[in-house]
Amino acid sequence: MATNDVTLTYKNSCTPQELDSGGTRWFMDSDCGRKLSGNSVLSGEMGNTLVYVAAGDVTDSTAIDLQTGFDFFYLKCVSGDDVKLSFDGGSNYLVLLSVGEAFASYVDSSAADIKFLTATGGGSSVVEYLTVT
């Protein structure tokens, strides 16, 4: 790798859980049986232009539009109301984030504009996001 090349290590993990019949203890879900996790290192397959915004303000009428062409995208709802996320330029907001939750993915070049705004009418939120192009 050359100086100033960007590398990203990311991990998404989840643990499905199931309440016992007595209603007192949570166990790992008996349909899955284990914790689920995947991680990856992105380096050569990405560009090297990283943009990080620690505190972006969004409302239900003021979306942040990141346009297209990203290799990697990360978004976190830091505070405020739920945030909804669109991968098709705002036609459909199909992903939801509540406070404290984050989304991270390697992005395909076919994705349209990435846009996000609050899911609640009259609401406002602070988000943190990162893109690599």
Binding site: M1, T3, N4, D5, V6, T7, L8, T9, Y10, K11, N12, S13, C14, T15, P16, Q17, E18, L19, S21, G23, D29, S30, D31, C32, G33, R34, L36, S37, G38, N39, S40, L42, L50, V51, Y52, Y74, K76, C77, K84, L85, F87, D88, N92, Y93, L94, V95, L96, L97, G100, E101, A102, A104, S105, Y106, D108, S110, A112, A119, L130, V132
Partner: protein, 178 residues
């Protein structure tokens, strides 16, 4: 039937940048502490920290059928498996092969609460949120060993599809309804 279900989830991102440490002179009387220049990764200077978040979501205690995960639980035994074998959509090892044909994770049309997809193979796969559309887009790519997860916002479980990028791979998944 389960009493109740929930899913805890977390995401972590570590952005790094390649950095060249300059050569350092250091010849002493008795020994040489000179260091040559070398490359290494450090936290990206635009971020200077690791990123991430976590949460949990309540999902429906009674999922539509066994196709809400790709697994048959390790604890399940043959006698207690109530699926009709010829009608079952899940696989014994929980692994779904992804080729050049778009694979719909479940045909059940319920409001989606949460989706997790891991690429258990070595070749990249792509995820669409508009299965059944004439020309679906694939906004998310998942490399071998990586995973992607997201909460739904008015999307149905039968809209999630996966296709290979250039070569076949395999996945495991959870797709839960509200």
């Amino acid at each position: 039937m389960a009493q109740d279900r929930k899913i805890q989830f977390s995401t972590q991102v570590v952005p790094k940048i390649e950095f060249q440490r300059a050569a350092r002179a250091g010849v002493l009387e008795e020994y040489d502490r000179t260091q040559a220049a070398y490359q290494h990764n450090k936290l990206h200077t635009s971020v200077n920290k690791t990123l991430g978040g976590n949460g949990y979501i309540d999902v429906n205690a009674t999922q539509a059928d066994d196709s809400w995960t790709s697994f048959i639980a390790p604890a399940a035994d043959w006698d207690s498996n109530l699926s009709q074998w010829e009608a079952a959509t899940d696989t014994w090892d929980g692994i779904i092969t992804i080729s050049s044909s778009l694979v719909q994770l479940t045909s059940n049309s319920n409001t989606m609460a949460f989706c997790y997809i891991k690429n258990t193979g070595t070749n990249t796969v792509k995820v669409t949120l508009e299965y059944g559309a004439g020309s679906p887009t694939y906004p998310m790519k998942v490399k071998g060993g990586a995973s992607v997860q997201f909460r739904g916002n008015g999307i149905n479980t039968n809209k999630i599809g996966v296709i290979r990028d250039s070569s076949d791979s395999t996945i495991e998944y959870v797709i839960a309804k509200t």
